[in-house]
């Protein structure tokens, strides 16, 4: 009877159950414990990666601890119920990873794979979803996600809250990535193997010094934005015609553009929109994200409205501008802005005057970094106009100014 049952079981279930049995002792639940109450404030998953007790999880699992080290401690809970304290060793906020260490040098560890699987191969995500106990989720490796700036793996399978930081294994039981986020409907993302091995191999003299953590994060953010923005500045930008103007299109392989237009027959005007963005933000804490690159254009035109009606409509387009990242008063200052009218000539020689507003706010904990936004509106015609807008989150002043210069130079008029 038993033999028959085994025969009709699908092959992957066999693999999943044996993986689970073989490796469940190397996977932990990571708990952020509030010191005063002794209760857990956040949970995630993690796994042991070396014989000397090194444990990997996501940065966002331990972010509350890094923000208020005195208020929390980090704990692991093993599959068999054993719990113990963990020490924070290192972090990588860009790739959402953190390295912890078990005080007692015990337990087996998972091995890193030599390389990534082939597209379509079965892979297995492990973790502790919604505090329900260790769970294995089989799915498919689908390569590096197409528009991913940080080269996340596209995993076709369900990752749920609580599984963050858990390992993803190939059929041999080797780590190929770390659970990080989901877009729902079986679309999930993993931090790839190479980012993990870079963090593990990074030379370090000892555990992270908690007093220096803001400086470490600031350096990681600064280096990353320097790399990302200077790549954008060095490259030739793809532009395309947009009604009477020519505007930046997908200026990097990780940026995606969407278009739309308002075509309600009751409306006496047309509004064409192009919005381009980089969709991966960098998580700093539950109220603070950064790393966004978003730019948007609206072309408004009407031959039915009179000039005052048109400008009332046009003005409404610039009245509600917000940055695209989340930040609170603990994290950033208020915006400061500079406004002026500026001129440029169209290809046909017409003088185009625009009103430009450039605003920036300073990061309070990470010196030298700013969120910047620009909003511009052409003011040369009584029946049409172009609104240009961009947000850069977490950039240096130098990069912000150079990007603005290039952005404005790449908006031209036919």
């Amino acid at each position: 009877m038993m033999g028959v049952l085994v025969l009709i079981n699908p092959v992957y279930a066999q693999d999943a159950s044996s993986l689970f049995n073989n490796f469940s002792d190397r996977i932990y639940q990571i708990r952020i414990i509030e010191q005063a109450s002794g209760k857990q404030a956040a949970i995630g998953s993690g796994f042991q990666i070396s014989q000397d007790g090194m444990v990997v999880t996501n940065y966002h699992v331990v972010s509350e601890y890094t923000r208020y080290p005195g208020r929390y401690r980090i704990e692991y809970a093993a599959h068999n119920g054993v719990t113990g304290e963990l020490q924070l060793i290192d972090i990588d906020v860009i790739n959402d990873l953190s390295l912890l260490k078990k005080d007692d040098f015990q337990g087996n560890n998972l091995e890193l794979a030599d390389g990534l699987p082939l597209q379509g191969e079965a892979i297995y995500s492990l973790g502790n979803p919604h505090d329900l106990g260790l769970t294995v989720v089989p799915g498919t490796y689908n390569g590096i996600a197409k528009y991913s700036l940080y080269k996340r793996i596209h995993f076709s399978g369900s990752i749920n809250p609580g599984m963050s930081g858990g390992p993803v294994l190939n059929v041999h039981g080797e780590v190929i990535g770390v659970n990080v986020s989901t877009a729902g409907n079986q679309i999930s993302f993993l931090v790839p193997l190479n980012k993990l091995s870079e963090l593990i191999k990074r030379p370090r003299s000892g555990p992270i010094v908690l007093e220096e953590i803001e400086l470490i994060i600031a350096n990681q953010l600064a280096n990353n934005q320097q790399r990302v923005i200077s790549d954008l500045l060095d490259s030739e930008w793809l532009t395309s015609d947009f009604k009477g103007a020519n505007i930046p299109n997908e200026i990097a392989e990780y940026i995606r553009c969407w278009g739309s237009s308002e075509n309600d027959p009751d409306v006496a005007y047309e509004n064409f929109m192009s919005i381009c963005s980089q969709d991966e933000y960098i998580f700093l804490d539950s109220e603070f994200t950064t790393g966004n690159i978003v730019y948007q254009f609206n072309w408004i035109e009407s031959d039915e409205l009179n000039v005052f009606q048109f400008y009332n409509l046009y003005q409404a387009q610039i009245e509600n501008v917000y940055p695209d990242n989340y930040a609170g008063k603990d994290h950033v200052t208020n915006f400061e802005c500079h406004e002026n009218f500026y001129n440029k000539h169209s290809i046909s020689g017409e003088l185009i005057t625009s009103k430009g507003t450039f605003c920036a706010r300073k990061y309070k904990k990470y010196p030298g970094l700013y969120d910047v936004l620009y909003i511009g509106a052409s003011l040369h015609n009584n029946q049409h106009g172009l609104v240009s807008h961009f947000t850069l989150a977490g950039v240096s002043m130098d990069m912000a100014l150079k990007f603005t210069r290039k952005f404005l130079a790449n908006v031209t008029w036919n």
Partner: protein, 316 residues
């Protein structure tokens, strides 16, 4: 003996002055009195006033039902001395007694204020200001419509404007009734409508200046200053009509009260503004090319000057 009675608590109209002569002045509701008061709480023969050899004036209550008071003392079967300016309470009626020698304030000079109040009396003002308000706000609403034309939207805006004007008028009419015993409702409404017209044009004008100013702080200061002047002026006119316009002290009180109100509103605005905001503050106005005064700078120049934003952030 000759006395002047100011009957100030009569249920209708402004205070009445009445001069009465005689050795003995009898006060009551009956027709054989020297001063006849039409108040149901006053007895037919309520009180009498007499003068003695020394020229002192005395009030005697004639065992009336509700009693007689001089200032705060009750005349209880005994005479109470009166002075020029004494307040008498008989039943519900309040009287002031003056001798003919009692000093009066000197005449108030006719000032521009009187011209304003005379101008307000013009009957054409009401009709013309109402029509103007209706047209201005109708047109403004029409210019804000980007879709199918809808009469309801214009009527809605008009209803809001006229409704709030009406409630303001009623408020000041009530204030006027309390202070001066005349409501002046029509004149209050005229002031409010003229104010609405003036505010419409002034804010449109200020709007164009702000659009060209390109400086949020300047824009805010200018807008507050304009609001200050407009609100102070309106309150001052309302108070002027509602209280006694011949007393300069009241005019001064009106200005002080209105200024205080405006300062208070600016202060509460400032408190709210110091909080953290996600949204940048800039001049959120766009106007047609014809209303732009500044020529603007070259794009390169603009890109260079935006770095001042970072200097401002460093200063904070």
């Amino acid at each position: 003996m000759e006395l002047v009675f100011q009957i100030s608590d009569s249920p209708v109209g402004a205070p009445v002055f009445q001069k009465v002569e005689g050795v003995l002045i009898r006060i009551g509701r009956a027709f054989d009195n020297d001063l006849i008061l039409n108040d149901a709480t006053i007895s037919p023969h309520h009180a009498e006033i007499s003068v003695d050899e020394d020229g002192k004036i005395w009030l005697l209550d004639l065992d009336s039902l509700n009693g007689s008071w001089v200032d705060r003392t009750q005349s209880n079967k005994q005479k109470i001395e009166l002075h020029s300016g004494s307040k008498l309470s008989l039943g519900k009626t309040i009287l002031h007694v003056y001798t003919p020698e009692h000093p009066v304030e000197s005449a108030v000079k006719i000032t521009p204020v009187s011209f304003v109040t005379n101008w307000i009396e013009n009957p054409l003002l009401m009709v013309s200001s109402i029509v103007l308000v209706a047209i201005l706000y109708g047109v403004e609403q029409w210019l804000n419509m980007f879709q199918e034309f809808k009469w309801q939207e214009i009527i809605n805006v008009e209803l809001i404007i006229f409704g709030s004007a009406l409630s303001m008028g009623i408020f000041w009419a009530i204030v006027g009734r309390i202070f001066k015993h005349e409501s002046n409702f029509k004149n209050q409404m005229k002031i409010i409508f003229v104010f609405i017209v003036a505010q419409f044009f002034i804010t449109k004008f200020v709007d164009i200046i702000l659009f060209n100013s390109l400086n949020y702080t300047f824009a805010m200061v200018l807008m507050m200053a304009v609001e200050f002047v407009l609100i102070a002026l309106l309150l001052w006119l309302n108070l002027l009509l509602s209280t006694n316009q011949t007393q300069e002290q009241r005019l001064r009180t009106a200005v002080v009260v209105s200024a205080a109100l405006v300062v208070l509103s600016i202060y509460s605005d400032m408190i709210n503004e110091s909080e953290f905001s996600d949204s940048p503050e800039y001049v959120k106005l766009l106007h047609p090319p014809a209303l732009r005064i500044s020529d603007g700078v070259e794009e390169q120049q603009f890109v260079t000057e935006i770095s001042v934003v970072f200097d401002k952030l460093e200063i904070e």
